[in-house]
Symmetry: C2
């Protein structure tokens, strides 16, 4: 239901989207593996690239339980990618931020993601690429309300 469907027969829309999602995820996963990063770790770094955040905030962005954050951040911290600091305004809270090492790795991995995902579209003309982007944006738009995982603020 997800991995198969005729490889050289015309795909229906459902199969196309599902398989495309696996294709992209596999690219991300393979790329992350080269830096010993899981997809969830990359997502964590990606959020922290733009702003520091507390544990609950991160959990919300990532769609995880807050208790899952302890281990996730802990492992990143142990690798020196991330740092915990006490929040100045709230004694309970913690502010997670990238270390310089973490930032370097994040920038680098981000650039590689750009390259690899772009490579997936190499057979598309610029106009097709733009159209694909537009269509994807429509799908993403349609679910922003149900899917609070790609928001700023």
């Amino acid at each position: 239901m997800t991995t198969d469907a005729a490889a050289d027969r015309p795909l229906d829309t459902v199969d196309a989207l599902v398989q495309l999602s696996f294709l992209v995820q596999r690219a991300l996963s393979a790329l992350g593996a080269e830096h010993e990063l899981s997809i969830i770790q990359m997502r964590l770094l990606g959020i922290l690239r733009d702003r520091d955040a507390g544990m609950v905030e991160l959990a919300t962005y990532l769609g995880l339980d807050k208790s899952s954050m302890t281990g996730l951040v802990g492992r990143a911290e142990k690798r020196g990618l991330v740092r915990r600091a006490r929040s100045p305004h709230d004694g309970r809270a913690v502010l997670v931020s990238l270390t310089p090492d973490g930032r370097r790795l994040t920038e680098r991995a981000g650039a590689e993601i750009g390259r690899r995902v772009t490579a997936l579209t190499e057979r598309l003309s610029p106009a097709e690429r733009a159209e694909l982007t537009r269509l994807a944006a429509v799908l993403l738009d349609g679910t922003v309300s149900q899917a609070p995982w790609a928001r700023r603020r």
Copy 2:
């Protein structure tokens, strides 16, 4: 790098594809969760829907190590979704197949995936849907040689 990127600014192609992949994966994951199925379990069932297979064969389709299959199939077997049978032609081999329960669940989940993924495209016209499908197929085509995860036979 994966979860963010401006929510209401124009997306570039890379962000669009990455975010779309997360959108679809989240839909799959949520749907699976309703039946206590992980994505990998659904993929397993999806393969077995069309044909029985040995452990190594399944591992190849799923891109996993064969040792990972023991647990995966074992858990599905314990739930009564799947059955192991000794291969008639090779005393070492095992043939994994769906039980009637497993087949019912597979058909049902497959149908729901169709519905939900189709729902993601509700804002597209039929022509746009077809175009999206075509474009996705081009991306998928370009990597078949590197990605032996969507083949029959």
